[in-house]
């Protein structure tokens, strides 16, 4: 029995929202990464900054996701992961992801992306081999989930730009903070 109410796929939402050519998005992201590499001069720092920028986006984007998807509430982390993969990715960047590799207690899984508009035209030069080019995505997921009371850790397991066959993000639930009642009973 599930209390989940909302779409099972983001296709209908994606086709109803206003869209732009993915190349504008891809090239703007490329320009952002390029600026960070120039400013910070260190690949690890760039990874950190991309994650932070993603987090900043995530804490804002979650409201749009909730408003447009009509997702009311997810029962558990498992359902949440499915919704991110099937509805979230589609609704914003037009691609569908799949969820695999669940651990036994349902607190850790992988989100696998076959396709990703951020990386069109991209190849990592030798000087940037340590770069997680799409690190902004992991930040977005972490930020968005934090706003609905789920503390997570998101790490890359596979990256096409590093020679893997897909993009794989591991999402680990660290803590689920229940919705807060602002006053303690014994106060």
């Amino acid at each position: 029995m599930s209390r989940f109410i909302g779409p099972r796929s983001g296709d209908a939402i994606f086709s109803s929202v206003e869209r732009v050519n993915a190349e504008l998005f891809t090239l703007t992201y490329g320009a952002t990464v390029r600026q960070l590499l120039t400013d910070l001069e260190d690949v690890d720092e760039v990874n950190k900054q991309l994650d932070q920028m993603g987090y900043n986006i995530g804490i804002r984007l979650i409201d749009e996701f909730l408003a447009k998807s009509n997702v009311t509430r997810c029962v558990d982390f498992k359902e949440t992961a499915e919704v991110i993969a099937k509805v979230g990715f589609k609704m914003f960047i037009g691609v569908t992801a799949s969820v695999t590799n669940w651990n036994a207690d349902g607190t850790c899984c992988s989100i696998v992306l076959e396709d990703n508009p951020l990386v069109d035209f991209v190849e990592l030069p030798d000087t940037c081999q340590g770069l997680y080019y799409c690190n902004i995505l992991s930040g977005v997921i972490r930020g968005a989930l934090e706003m609905v009371s789920m503390k997570t850790e998101v790490t890359w397991l596979r990256d096409v730009l590093r020679g893997d066959d897909a993009f794989e993000l591991q999402v680990k639930l660290l803590k689920q903070v229940p919705e807060e009642y602002p006053y303690k009973d014994d106060e």
């Binding site: 409201d63 749009e64 408003a67 509430r73 706003m147």
Partner: protein, 144 residues
């Protein structure tokens, strides 16, 4: 300009109970800054208490308060931001209007690089689009 629907005022409060947006329409129920801040924090607490008092597990708080002289419709997003309108008793389509306002907020507030999260909303485009949304004929269309 077309007439506003029978709405007295609109409040947006952040998840800690701080008033981040207040707008009144027309003369009825107009209040000064202190009063509006008080209403916001009072509502924030009452809303939280109602969740606790409710016999239903997972209750998300008061959605409608009916009084002799006004109705108060409230919508709380899953992220904890509350939007509420105070309007003439029996005004229709307020839930749909709150949903529209939530969407305007995600567009013209959250996508504005100059807006700082949880802070008072000062965004010209939000004001502009909001004043269109609350016009009577627009609100009536929400029912279709």
């Amino acid at each position: 300009m077309a007439a506003a629907a029978a709405i007295y005022s609109l409040f947006i409060i952040n998840k800690s109970g701080g008033l981040i947006y207040y707008k009144d329409y027309g003369s009825a129920g107009r209040m000064d800054t202190n009063d509006s801040l008080r209403v916001a924090s009072l509502w924030h607490s009452m809303h939280a208490i109602s969740q606790q008092l409710s016999p239903i597990v997972g209750c998300s708080g008061i959605e409608l308060l009916e009084a002799d002289t006004f109705d108060l419709h409230c919508f709380q997003s899953l992220t904890g931001t509350k939007f509420f309108v105070v309007c003439e008793p029996g005004t229709l389509q307020m839930d749909a209007l709150l949903k529209v306002i939530y969407e305007l907020y995600t567009d013209y507030v959250l996508k504005n690089p100059f807006y700082e999260m949880e802070m008072p909303i000062r965004c010209e485009l939000f004001d502009l689009n909001l004043s269109q949304a609350v016009q009577k004929d627009r609100v009536a269309l929400l029912g279709r």
